[in-house]
Amino acid sequence: MNYSAILETLKKYDFSFFGAVIAIFFIGVINLYSATQASDQLSHSNLFKIQLFYFLISMAIALTISFVQTKNYFRYGYFIYGVNVFLLILVLTLGKIGMGAQRWLVLGPISFQPSEFMKISIVLALGRWFTKTDPHLVLGFKELIIPAIITFIPMILIVLQPDLGTGILVGLISFMIAFYRRLRWKVIVMLGIISLIGGSVMYQYGLKEYQRKRIIAFVNPDADAKGSGYNAIQSKIAIGSGEFLGKGYKKSTQASLQYLPENHTDFIFSIFNEEHGFFGSLVLISLYIVLFYRFIWLAQAVTKIFDSILAVGLMSIFFWHTFINMGMVMGLMPIVGVPLPLLSYGGTSLLTFMICCGVATSISNSRNFF
């Protein structure tokens, strides 16, 4: 490829996704630095470097992916899904040996959580299914049978790990894709009512007190050990004490005193709020909204329904993580251990979001140069 061709490619290349993601990531890594430096635990002080390292790897992978033609996603959609389901089964059978580490698969020096990648695989598989079925159809119950099977197989495997949080996320991602693919409103309302009534009846009457406690322990095994309300209230204190402008960078007191045990992963948003206040959050949330908006824009800018569904699916991965994580750290939802995209520490999670970004970029690019 000569110089002008590279220039041409660069002109057509959609940098918007990477731009937004990099902006959010750098806010995240700076925040991570503060959260981990303040900690008494020395082992945490290098985490931001590791996160940067993960980022470079993820970025390389995502950039490569951004040059993949979208028809390949279609072609290999089911294959990727199948491999991922197989990996989940592997986790359940092999992962059992290492106590409490059932979420991880270890391949030599690399260890990763197949449940994280399942979020993308499910988008590919459902995208392909919904493209193959009559795209004019407005979806009813009957049309949901196969997508439900596609969703429930990995979902159950993930819940069995046990990781209810990720399981629910997979369900929500599928739901948003079905919703976008014009699921009848009537069906949506019915589904809502059924799950609401079914869930609460089960919880209230179908279970005895000790079983309920077990479920809570199942959702979050650490809950009782650390005192179920403890993380929640410390997180609220961290967020609330930030007030409008925050205490300032590296001035978090909650993190330094180990009041928030998971301050670099699930509770990273609390530290961000403590240091940067309501104003900081406003900026951060705006960046997220810009990113989400870009996905929605992409869903309508493409010419193929498969690409469109993919864009919405990828957006929903970002969206549900962001919404559930923020909701849980500020006490709107139970604590289910969902990371905040690009801010929480964690290699697999970061790679997942970067891949989403790479796929979205390749979809956008495909409008111009494939």
């Binding site: 609330g240 007030e243 949330i285």
Partner: protein, 650 residues
């Protein structure tokens, strides 16, 4: 047919709905942030700055330990420590000096402690300044608390062992988990106490209970208080109450324990007493001993180093962790095996000239000039070595080992105490493996009298004699009667194990038991002079050689030797002889004679036991004893008179 682009466009309305969902979702997030950061922000800011919410561990009271008669043996007593929370120390110099005066600790020392803590831990973690405050010191600090911000008195529970030195090996002690220890035992909280020896260790899971926690609000000076708006903040907090540990009722009798302890006063050794009918241990004492209460108080490491430097090793439980050659007490087992195998019977007679020749080797009897003609009764009664050497020439060592093992020798008894040793019963295989040399006949001879390689713990010895007393049924020694909760629910019963089949025939047992009876109750018996009164005891004396003496010294008086070279005294007994209830095994290190050093310990325990549980039997035996003694003395007198008459006539 639409084009594909139109299909995409037909989803625009849904895309718009999703956009709205996103906007509404983040509107909710921002509204919540507004509530937390702007509306409630000031309250939360104060909370975060003062760190006024503290999670405090509620220590679970450790289970208590009772004797078989429900007397409290181990329980918990509150203790007061003075602590400083560095975070709340507003005027360090003044406060520390003030405190130093009141608790009589140099201010420099307090500063040293604070500085060390500063390097190692966060400033909100309390630093213990002085442990075990007196009531007066507590009062002094509490009344002037407001002048000493950051100083407070914290209450701890210490473990108190009512009988202190008595039976400490069996009860064991507890120790605080340090950071390293915590890593090993996951289910324990840091700084929780853990049992490190004895019952405290083996039943730690039952005794420890589960710690709870409680969230408390404290003000800037570390004092507990409640703020306005607190309910709003604290409503989703859950406290967890502590679950007290389970209590244990032992099979131990405290009076017997005391009697055993006193009987071993000034000696190094151990004694075990158990109920022959069910294996319940009534007393188990090892001396020298230590005071486990000190371990749960301060100076743990100092006390530990004192104990571990003591050459008599007070931390060592001699009753189960040490093994000795059982000496002549093992002849009983040789006799049982020989009778059962038909090697000897009631009528077999052996002539003892004071030695036994095997090839070129001479085996001495303890009695230099010999016992004369000896049958099985006399052999046991007077502990004739030659008789048993003779058996040794006829019995296969593996057969003898088989019988010894049936009586529990050479294996752990399975008592619920840590670090029991298994002793040793030699066999041909064992020796070949160990030394790569085949077994020698001479070694069988020595094994037959309880020397050479045989090793047994005092507990094993007692268990074996208990089996003889219990008509040949082996019992497993047990220490636990029951484990129960504070509410009185019995969680676990001690499981009694008695072998369903008799190990020996009644005929064999009858002969051996008659022999053992004569040891104590025949004027020629080796324990006659130390038989005690009114206890109807049977038993066997033994001495176990510490070093082998050359033949010129072999008949020297044991007491003339250097202390460390003297024989160990061994004595095993049971009582009453006609209907045995209690068996006792004693080992007194360097005690020289099983009779003079060992037997009095056993008689003290058995007397106490019969007095306490069978007073009517005790009275009966006392009367019988007096009658028997009177007859004995009149016989002696008559003999003397006759001899005098004879002399006169001459």
């Amino acid at each position: 047919m639409f084009g594909e682009e139109d299909i995409v466009k037909s989803h625009k309305s849904r895309a718009d709905v999703i956009t709205n969902i996103i906007l509404v979702s983040f509107a909710i997030i921002l509204a919540r942030l507004w509530y937390l950061q702007i509306y409630m922000g000031e309250a939360y800011r104060r909370y975060s700055l003062e760190n006024s919410l503290r999670k405090e561990t509620v220590m679970a009271p450790r289970g208590m330990i009772f004797s078989r008669n429900n007397e409290l043996m181990v329980h918990n007593v509150p203790r007061f420590d003075v602590i400083i929370v560095p975070q709340y120390l507003k005027t360090p110099k003044e406060t520390v000096e003030m405190l130093a005066q009141r608790i009589e600790v140099p201010a420099a020392e307090i500063f040293q402690k604070l500085n060390r803590a500063k390097r190692e831990q966060a400033s909100y973690i309390p630093v213990v300044i002085k442990k075990n405050l007196s009531r007066k010191e507590v009062a002094l600090i509490e009344t002037e608390n407001s002048y000493m911000p950051g100083v407070s008195v914290s209450t701890f529970i210490t473990r108190e062992y009512s009988d202190e030195f008595i039976g400490s090996h069996m009860l064991g002690y507890i120790s605080k988990l340090d950071k390293q220890g915590k890593k090993k035992v996951k289910e324990y909280d840091e700084f929780q106490y853990i049992g490190v020896a004895g019952i405290e260790k083996v039943f730690d899971k039952h005794l420890k209970g589960d710690n709870g926690f409680e969230f408390v609000e404290v003000d800037a000076l570390g004092r507990k208080r409640r703020y306005l708006k607190s309910d709003l903040l604290l409503d989703d907090i859950q406290n967890r109450p502590a679950v007290p540990g389970l209590n244990i009722r032992l099979t131990i009798d405290r009076d017997l324990q005391l009697a055993a302890y006193e009987a071993l006063e000034g000696k190094v050794g151990s004694v075990v007493a158990l109920d022959v009918t069910n294996g319940e241990i009534l007393a188990i004492i090892s001396r020298p001993s230590y005071n486990p209460s000190i371990f749960s108080r301060q100076l743990t490491s100092d006390y530990w180093s004192i104990l571990s430097k003591d050459e008599n090793e007070p931390l060592y439980d001699r009753a189960i962790q040490d093994h000795y050659p059982p000496g002549s007490t093992f002849k009983t087992i040789t006799a049982l095996a020989a009778l059962e195998e038909g090697i000897v019977d009631e009528n077999t007679e052996v002539r003892c000239n004071g030695y036994f020749q095997l090839g070129r080797k001479t085996f001495h009897c303890w009695k230099k000039h010999g016992h004369g003609v000896v049958n099985i009764y006399k052999a046991i009664r007077e502990s004739c070595d030659v008789y048993f050497y003779k058996i040794g020439t006829k019995i296969d060592i593996d057969v003898l080992a088989k019988y010894a093992k049936m009586l529990g020798f050479g294996n752990k008894t399975g008592i619920s105490l840590p670090r029991e040793t298994r002793g040793l019963i030699p066999t041909k295989d064992w020796k070949l493996k160990k030394n790569a040399v085949p077994w020698q006949l001479g070694e069988t001879l020595l094994t037959a009298i309880g020397q050479s390689y045989v090793l047994a713990t005092p507990l094993q010895l007692t268990v074996a004699y208990a089996a003889i007393a219990n008509n040949g049924r082996l019992v497993k020694p047990v220490l636990i009667k029951e484990i129960f909760s504070n509410a009185g629910d019995i969680v676990q019963q001690g499981n009694i194990e008695i072998s369903p089949e008799k190990i020996f025939s009644d005929k064999t047992l009858k002969i051996v038991r008659e022999g053992l009876f004569q040891v104590v109750n025949n004027p020629n018996g080796t324990a006659w002079w130390y038989r005690g009164k009114g206890i109807n005891m049977s038993g066997k004396t033994g001495t176990s050689q510490v070093v082998r003496f050359s033949s010129d010294k072999i008949f020297n008086k044991c007491e003339d030797n250097e202390y460390k070279l003297r024989h160990h005294a061994v004595f095993a007994a049971y009582a009453p002889s006609d209907n045995p209830k209690i068996a006792v095994g004693v080992v007194v290190e360097h005690g020289c004679h099983g009779s003079s050093a060992g037997a009095p310990v056993a008689t003290a325990i058995i007397s106490k036991y019969l007095e306490k549980y069978y007073p009517e039997l005790r009275e009966k035996y006392l009367k019988e004893d007096n009658k028997m003694l009177a007859a004995h003395w009149s016989r002696k007198k008559a003999q003397a008179a006759e001899e005098a008459k004879k002399n006169d006539e001459e």
